[in-house]
């Protein structure tokens, strides 16, 4: 391999010139000739029967092209919206269709669509609909939903329990018999709203005489949307094209095949003209899926020396009103909750529950934040109970580097990692002993400082195909095409579909290194199902390690072909020809050489090729990795709690992440920053709150607190590099690590700050009121 120059370099993103000048291509920016506008009429009730939708007055409104209720559209759906296995094959769930027909189960569920010549005309007409409901009792609380006398959402299931399963490994009874310390704790993962700054949007154009459908969507998964639009609407897959251009953030919220994608496509088919729908923020807060919404009951068995022997944990997962496409994916937490630690047993139980709230699905981290929160809180709870330093408790329980690769209790194999390495570096950066001295001094002055650790380990890089199939119902792998044009310029097609991650830049870096091409000669294309083979899209921090590796392998195949052609043209033995920096030359005779441009030119003239070789300079790779990748790191939050108001400020935040080889450190650090911010958001600010009737009280950005610039500090980041053996680049994922790590770091820091008040735990978000109440639970007296 040529000396690496591009991989590892912080190259500025080629995506940016468009985006900083206002010339991006988001769905809403598409030219709008002859487009009809679709408005989704949504349930205003959390649980009700639809008695009737009277449309005649609305049909008379100006500009209306069509009004359809669920009953009008239902006959055209040849399948329900997809639901994947997602770690719980045992679950029971109802079929969910894009639009309700006779019963609604959450506020925001589609019940009718109005199509008109403008968005405002559609909205005006929708106001003239006469919708009659018969209210049903609502079920909003996870624990109440489980009660035998609870109203039931789905009669065919007979209760609100989708599944109640065990995920256990090791001898938990023995662990508890051996325990000198037992701790019980409830941990709550509040319901979160993802809030990508661009809401969703869909533009569909169906051509009746061709029976072809093109859909532009603000989605993370154009390839899956293509498959399912074909299945649901009965259009051959090859006639469906889905395009994701610029996408304004996803964070998991655009990972599903959504009702509106189907409804807009169907409206275009019915009307024979292009139709678009743009989600407004009020819609987005209730119609785009939510995240987390879990209760965890935890029991810990430990020894007085800080050894954690085993954990019993029940995860109550609020699925919302239906089981979403990856709705049970968060049950992965039960399989990975041991984190980087050597436990003897983990006894897990997962319970999935239906409630009259917006469906939940993946939100940045999807199961790994919950697992990490659990085990990182466990470490601190144990440290607190036995009176040891939380750093020492972690070190005591770490899987030693010498034992890597390490199989966890459930047989998942950690690929590589030295957990002390990142922790040591983080401790140096914060100057731990100095902080403890400062903390002690500050307490004397009535000032409450705290430090919190999170030495996370996470699993990502989806594939491998075989391992992901039982888990998600879909075999996942990486896809790339590297295609050199006649002049030696490259087009690279990738299977992932980015929305801010910078793949056009980083994937060009991979090809640039492998082929010795200048970056400006490499185009990276993504997010268009009409171009190249099927890809597996972007989620789960998978792109670099799976599609990136596929890109590398395709480039290597092209390089090998170039070398063979060069040997033929130079009349040299193949073994004597070396490829380096964009040139093939005969070993020991560098003047006998051909550039990649010259070789590619020959590749398009088959008579110049070695006998039997086909023309062209193209390679396709479907990369199925042998294992997942397991990024890890040490995050440390330093907080100051205001003794008067209970307000918490993150004063410093130190993150040392190991994601293996870093393709572009600037991009990696950007991912870490954004991830940390979202994790701090969960710890301190964000929560979706419903009233007793099931109305979302935090339905606008006035009420739902997304962190602003003044709420956050600048972050201090560093890296160690432990290459992954799971792919030829040695990369791991980094898109979610910040979010996975930061939430427990902040909560651990707050609990640490509140030690003088005897506080052991605090529910998220740790609002000033909650903190203040804890400070005053014993009349405000400190210990």
């Amino acid at each position: 391999m040529a000396v690496s120059q591009l991989i590892g370099a912080s190259i500025k993103r080629r995506e940016d010139p468009q985006l900083i000048t206002g010339s991006g291509s988001f769905v809403e920016d598409m030219p709008q000739t002859a487009v009809a506008h679709l408005y989704v009429v949504r349930s205003t009730q959390a649980h009700a029967r639809i008695l009737g939708i009277e449309t005649s007055r609305a049909r008379e409104a100006s500009g209306v092209l069509a009004i359809w209720t669920g009953k009008d559209l239902q006959p055209e759906f040849q399948a329900p919206l997809p639901v994947t296995v997602s770690f719980v094959a045992e679950k029971k769930y109802p079929s969910m269709y894009p639009i309700a027909t006779d019963r609604v189960r959450y506020v925001g569920e589609p019940i009718a669509v109005v199509v008109a010549t403008s968005r405002s005309a559609a909205e005006d007409a929708a106001e003239r609909l006469d919708i009659r409901y018969q209210s049903l009792p609502v079920v909003l609380d996870i624990e109440r939903a489980l009660a035998a006398d609870s109203p039931v959402l789905h009669d065919e299931i007979g209760s609100n329990i989708s599944y109640d399963v065990k995920r256990s490994a090791g001898d938990i009874e023995a662990a508890f018999r051996e325990a000198e310390v037992r701790i019980s704790q409830r941990l709550v993962q509040q319901r979160l709203i993802p809030v990508a700054v661009e809401g969703r949007g869909v533009l569909a154009e169906y051509k009746p005489f061709a029976n072809s459908l093109t859909v532009w969507s603000s989605t993370q998964i154009p390839h899956f949307v293509k498959v399912w639009l074909g299945v649901i609407l009965g259009i051959p897959e090859g006639k469906v094209r889905v395009v994701a251009q610029d996408v304004g953030g996803g964070f998991g919220s655009k990972i599903r095949v959504y009702p509106e994608e189907v409804l807009v496509a169907l409206a275009s088919r019915r009307l024979g003209r292009p139709v678009k729908w743009t989600e407004d923020r009020n819609e987005n807060m209730k119609a785009t899926h939510h995240g987390r919404s879990q209760i965890w009951d935890v029991e810990i068995a430990a020894r007085r020396d800080g050894t954690v022997l085993g954990v019993r944990a029940t995860q109550y997962l609020d699925l919302g009103a239906y089981c979403s496409q990856f709705g049970t994916f968060m049950a992965i937490a039960l399989l990975i909750a041991q984190g980087p630690y050597k436990l003897k047993a983990f006894d897990g139980r997962g319970v999935g529950v239906f409630t009259n709230r917006t469906p939940t699905d993946a939100y940045r981290g999807a199961g790994r934040p919950e697992a990490t929160y659990l085990i990182e809180r466990v470490m601190d709870l144990v440290a607190h109970e036995v009176g040891l330093d939380p750093v020492e408790v972690r070190r005591k329980n770490f899987v030693p580097a010498a034992e890597q690769p390490f199989a966890n209790l459930f047989g998942l194999t950690y690929d590589s990692g030295d957990y002390n390495l990142t922790l040591d570096k983080a401790l140096t950066m914060v100057d731990y002993p100095a902080f403890r001295r400062e903390q002690a001094e500050a307490r004397k002055r009535g000032k409450y400082l705290g430090i919190g650790f999170s030495t996370y380990l996470e699993i990502c890089g989806l594939g491998p195909s075989a391992a992901t199939t039982p888990a998600t119902g879909i075999g996942l792998w990486g896809m790339s095409v590297v295609n050199l044009h006649f002049t030696g310029k490259a087009t690279v097609i990738i299977g992932s579909s980015p929305h801010g991650q910078g793949h056009e830049t980083t994937f060009a870096q991979i090809v640039g290194d492998a082929l010795g091409l200048p970056l400006e000669d490499i185009e990276v294309v993504h997010g268009d199902t009409a171009i190249g083979p099927m890809g597996m899209n972007t989620y789960g921090s998978r792109s670099a390690s799976v599609d990136g590796a596929a890109v590398h392998l395709s480039a290597v195949k092209v390089r090998e072909k170039a070398r063979k052609i060069a040997a033929h043209l130079l009349e040299a033995a193949e073994a004597d020809v070396v490829y380096e920096s964009g040139k093939a030359f005969v070993k020991g005779a560098p003047s006998k050489s051909l550039t990649i441009q010259e070789i590619t030119g020959a590749a398009f003239q088959p008579h110049r090729l070695p006998p039997g070789m086909e023309g062209g300079m193209e390679a396709t790779t479907f990369f199925d990795p042998p294992n997942f990748v397991w990024p890890f790191g040490a995050h440390v939050a330093l907080v100051e709690v205001d003794g008067e108001t209970g307000a918490t400020r993150v004063v410093r935040y130190v993150a040392v992440d190991d994601c293996g080889t870093r393709l572009n450190p600037m991009v990696v650090e950007g991912q870490v920053h954004g991830g940390i911010a979202q994790g701090i958001g969960q710890a301190l600010y964000e929560e979706a709150v419903y009233d007793e009737e099931g109305q979302l009280k935090t339905g606008t950005l006035v009420d739902y607190m997304v962190p602003c610039a003044p709420d956050l500090p600048s972050f201090e980041t560093a890296a160690t590099i432990t290459p992954s053996p799971s792919n030829p680049l040695g990369v791991k994922g980094i898109g979610e690590a910040g979010t996975i790590a930061s939430t427990p770091a902040v909560i651990n820091a707050i609990v640490d700050a509140l030690q003088p008040f005897g506080v052991k735990d605090i529910d998220m978000p740790a609002t000033p009121e909650k903190v203040w109440r804890l400070m005053h639970q014993n009349g405000g007296t400190t210990r």
Partner: protein
């Protein structure tokens, strides 16, 4: 019913008859075809639609187009001079101050006003000056760095060219 408006946007005068309820942001996007100004919320919280109206940074979803009648408006499309980027655009690029790029036009427009008012802001001043603009990707870290870098670049440019007016 419809009302006539004349709005000068990035130096070009636009005249249209619009519904009184049309928000300025939709006028910019749909009548002037300037889609760089984005809509991120309905409640004036996110700032994605920030533009400059008569020298003031304004969330264009809080203003009706008819209220901007006669106004001079600058949008993100009006910042670069040909291929030469505005120092803030350059700095957002250099410092990786954007990821998905959806909030970026509004963020840059808000930062532009911030630097016009205070050419040498502290980190805290930058953070509080951008309080009205939400970004979900960057955690604001590199946005702060970008504004600092732009402030430096703009101060340098002014020192070299003291007579030049601020852009």
């Amino acid at each position: 019913m419809r009302q006539k408006v004349a709005i000068t946007i990035n130096g070009t005068r636009y005249e249209n008859e619009v519904e009184p309820r049309l928000l300025l942001v939709y006028y910019l996007r749909e009548y002037a075809g300037l889609t760089g100004t984005h809509v991120g919320c309905d409640t004036s919280n996110c700032g994605a639609c920030t533009v400059d109206v008569n020298g003031h940074s304004v969330k264009s979803c809080t203003l009706f187009a008819v209220q901007a009648d006669g106004a001079q408006v600058t949008t993100i499309e009006g910042l670069a001079k040909g291929k030469e980027l505005h120092p803030l655009q350059q700095a957002f690029w250099d410092e990786h101050g954007l990821q998905c790029g959806y909030c970026t036009p509004g963020m840059i427009m808000a930062a532009r006003q911030l630097l016009e008012r205070n050419g040498n802001p502290t980190e805290a001043e930058i953070r509080s000056g951008l309080e009205g603009n939400l970004c979900r990707c960057t955690g604001y870290h590199n946005i702060v760095k970008a504004v600092q870098a732009a402030a430096k670049a703009m101060a340098g440019a002014e020192a070299r060219q003291p007579a030049a007016a601020g852009s």
